[in-house]
């Protein structure tokens, strides 16, 4: 087939930022990427997408992990008439060896377009563009190499996490171990959609929340601590001497609860009123560190706008110790899933479900006691559903 001209996309090869068009062209030695390029140029000309709604495709015994994709111009672009997404569950923290990357490349060179996303929004390795007939062979090669598919549809989506204790001194629990454990424990929930809608789990090691769990996960597990911030006063003095930081203005002055006192020499923290926001620690990483009594806060219910509006996660458990085998969290997950699976509507995320039935009722039904940490303030309206039995 003669190469099509792609003048619009060629514009996007220019400039300092790495170009996705160059990436597609690198793979365009093969026919699939070449047709993808042609189809995309057509979208740029017409200002409209040419992908159709997904169909039901997948690998035997799984209901998730593959997203069907067909184009609406199959006569003109036959090589991408079937161009399905294969989600491959990433290793915790997105760490790889060159050998593992090459293994994935070899599989994908043989069975697909050669294009990937590293990574998709939920965290999976995304193989972009497989024909239906290649799905079982890709899956067989992946499992042979020790990889498996991630989630899609109304299932537990692939859990993801920050680099945690592998690289970060702020991580208040082992996010990578937890994520691996929960992923392995719930393989059935991951691969066989049986929930009202998707359920995402994200694990952040500290309140900086580098994986955006508070905005993007149905269950957000965010590391925190209960005791005093660790202070190295000599290092505080070193920051003061270096002149790179105005400790009074930029550290004490920006504390949200004004619980830091700085006398020009030493820092004192009123830890009872510290809300563990991380600002002072972020600003002075050599002098300050989270306390030693570490664990996590569990929040629930974040989602994007569809259908009833976007939500941030809200507090369900103010503090929990994060130790294997994470029985408290699994008990909580099981109780939440059971209730939501039975009473949630089709395509109702758990955050919307909680809004509909009320947090108070939700707590009662999953067996959690209400505590004031769950709300910013008690109710202001007097329409109380008194329950006198």
């Amino acid at each position: 087939m003669a190469d099509r001209k792609t003048p619009l996309l060629d514009e996007l090869e220019k400039g300092p930022w790495p170009s996705f068009v160059k990436e597609i062209k690198k793979s365009a030695k093969g026919p699939m990427a070449r047709d993808l390029l042609g189809l995309l140029e057509r979208s740029y000309e017409e200002k409209i997408g040419h992908w159709k709604h997904g169909g039901l495709v997948g690998v035997r015994g799984y209901g998730g992990g593959v997203i069907g994709r067909y184009n609406d111009l199959p006569q003109e672009f036959p090589e991408v008439s079937e161009f399905h997404t294969v989600r491959v569950n990433q290793p915790s923290g997105w760490f790889y060896t060159s050998e593992a990357l090459r293994t994935l490349c070899d599989i994908w060179e043989k069975h697909g377009s050669g294009l990937t996303n590293m990574h998709g929004s939920t965290g999976d390795i995304v193989f972009l563009g497989a024909k239906t007939s290649e799905l079982e062979p890709v899956f067989a090669k992946l499992t042979e190499a020790g990889f498996d598919l991630g989630g899609s549809g109304s299932d537990m989506r692939t859990p993801s996490c920050c680099a945690g204790q592998a690289r970060c001194e702020w991580s208040c629990y082992d996010t990578m171990a937890f994520t691996h454990d929960v992923t392995q424990t719930y393989q059935d929930e991951l691969h066989r959609p049986a929930f009202p809608y998707k359920f995402k789990i994200k694990a952040s090691g500290c309140p900086n929340d580098c994986v955006a769990s508070v905005a993007r996960a149905d269950m957000s597990i965010i590391g925190t601590w209960r005791d005093a911030i660790q202070i190295d006063q000599a290092a505080v003095a070193e920051y003061a001497r270096s002149g790179t930081l105005d400790i009074h203005r930029d550290v004490a002055g920006r504390c949200p609860t004004r619980c830091i006192a700085y006398d020009g020499n030493q820092i004192q923290i009123d830890d009872e009123n510290c809300v563990k926001c991380m600002h002072c620690i972020n600003a002075m990483p050599k002098a300050l560190a989270p306390g030693k009594d570490r664990g996590a806060t569990i929040l629930v219910g974040a989602k994007a706008p569809i259908v009833e509006g976007a939500l941030l996660s809200s507090v369900l458990v103010p503090f929990v110790k994060m130790e294997p085998p994470y029985e408290d969290i699994k008990e909580l997950l099981n109780a939440m899933w059971e209730l939501w699976s039975e009473h949630g509507k089709n395509r109702e995320r758990i955050g919307e479900f909680i809004q509909r039935i009320g947090l108070g009722s939700f707590l009662e039904q999953i067996g959690l006691e209400p505590v004031p940490e769950m709300v910013t303030q008690p109710r202001t309206n007097p329409y109380i559903f008194y329950d006198l039995g």
Binding site: P18, W51, T143, Q165, V214, C255, H279, I306
Partner: protein, 364 residues
């Protein structure tokens, strides 16, 4: 059960991460003491043992060919024993114990076209969705807008020259696969016309009750059209969310003339200082103008420039706007405030000002 089925491996889960960790991480796992960011794109983590880990962060377009992944693998072999990782914002990080190799690695990555940066108070990679590259519900491309934006914002990737980090995110429809709704700057493609119904196809491809139930405003009603079971849309009730299209492929949203891009500001996910917050609407609509989306690029650049010259150190976009107030934000950025900026969905009234706490000015 056939012989094939007994051999077929399923539910093995992802490989254990431990085998991908470099020795310096295995030896110092959970023992890190502090870290520094000595130059853009380079992090140094120091362990209680005194060991050091250098992370060199390079840009990627997220959409990567296996040729590039093999190049990354070769670079990792040459400079750091084959160990690398990817970040939550689609950058690649090379992990070294030997600090003397940092400079040559940075130079090599730059030469290959994957520049180093994206740490500290600046702009790192834009998390984004598939767009026209691979999505059925996209109201714009994603990769092309992101490429155009990052070309323009590139100095802030290579320098740490802003008051605080500015997280930019892109989603190509309201489904927001990238959940962009808590970003300093969220670029969100939108539809602006009700779905077009294919009454011939609808009865064969969709369930009428679930299509009706999909609408959050109750704008979809069952209807009989030319003797066939179908639906109708009360157009004035439609807010173009596209949820019906997700449930029913015969109600298409894509529109080359009216689709375009909205811009939202002031969100964050970190708990540092201010609690996490949603992004709020700055610009309701800009046209889809491929291949370079100049209107969108100019608008985002303006937002970054105005923020950079007005915010104080450590102030994120949303914290800066809270300090100066929204009226001043619109004045400084020159963005017109319209009826579209006022919420009219559930609990809209929560965003109405119910006090006279207004920063009045005789200059109007």
């Amino acid at each position: 059960m056939s012989a094939d089925a007994t051999k077929r491996k399923t539910d093995i889960g992802p490989p254990h991460y431990e085998k991908f960790l470099p020795p310096v991480i295995k030896e110092n796992y959970g023992k890190w003491k502090y870290h520094e960011n000595p130059r853009p794109g380079v992090l140094v983590h120091v362990s209680h043992s005194g060991a050091k880990l250098f992370s060199v962060r390079a840009a990627t377009p997220r959409l990567l060919s296996i040729e590039t992944l093999r190049l990354f693998a070769a670079i990792a072999d040459e400079f750091c024993g084959g160990y690398l990782r990817f970040t939550s914002r689609n950058n690649v990080e090379f992990l070294l114990a030997d600090g003397s190799k940092v400079d040559p690695l940075v130079a090599r990555l730059k030469k290959e076209g994957y520049p180093v940066g994206g740490t500290g108070p600046g702009i790192t990679n834009i998390v984004h969705t598939q767009g026209w590259v691979h999505c059925h519900s996209a109201a714009s491309d994603a990769s092309g807008v992101v490429k155009s934006l990052m070309d323009a914002l590139f100095p802030h990737f290579e320098r740490m020259d802003l008051p605080a980090k500015v997280r930019v995110a892109f989603a190509c429809c309201l489904n927001m696969c990238g959940a962009v709704h808590c970003s300093d700057i969220a670029v969100l493609a939108v539809h602006r016309k009700p779905p077009k119904i294919n009454h011939d196809r609808l009865p064969k491809t969709c369930e009428v009750p679930s299509t009706v139930a999909a609408c959050p405003t109750g704008a979809i009603r069952p209807a009989t059209v030319d003797g066939k079971q179908s639906v109708q849309v009360i157009e004035e009730q439609c807010m173009f969310c596209g949820n019906c299209f997700t449930v029913c492929p015969s109600m298409t949203m894509a529109d080359p003339v009216n689709d375009g891009i909205s811009i939202w500001v002031g969100g964050k996910v970190s708990n540092a200082r201010h609690e996490p917050m949603f992004s709020k609407l700055a610009i309701p609509y800009l046209p889809n103008n491929p291949p370079r989306w100049p209107e969108v690029v100019d608008a985002v650049k303006n937002l970054v420039d105005v923020y950079a010259s007005n915010a104080r150190p450590f102030e994120r976009m949303g914290e800066w706007i809270e300090r100066i107030g929204w009226p001043k934000f619109f004045k400084l950025t020159g963005i017109p405030f319209t009826k579209y900026h006022i919420d009219d969905f559930r609990h809209a009234g929560e965003s109405y000002r119910r006090s006279v706490h207004i920063r009045q000015s005789s200059e109007g």
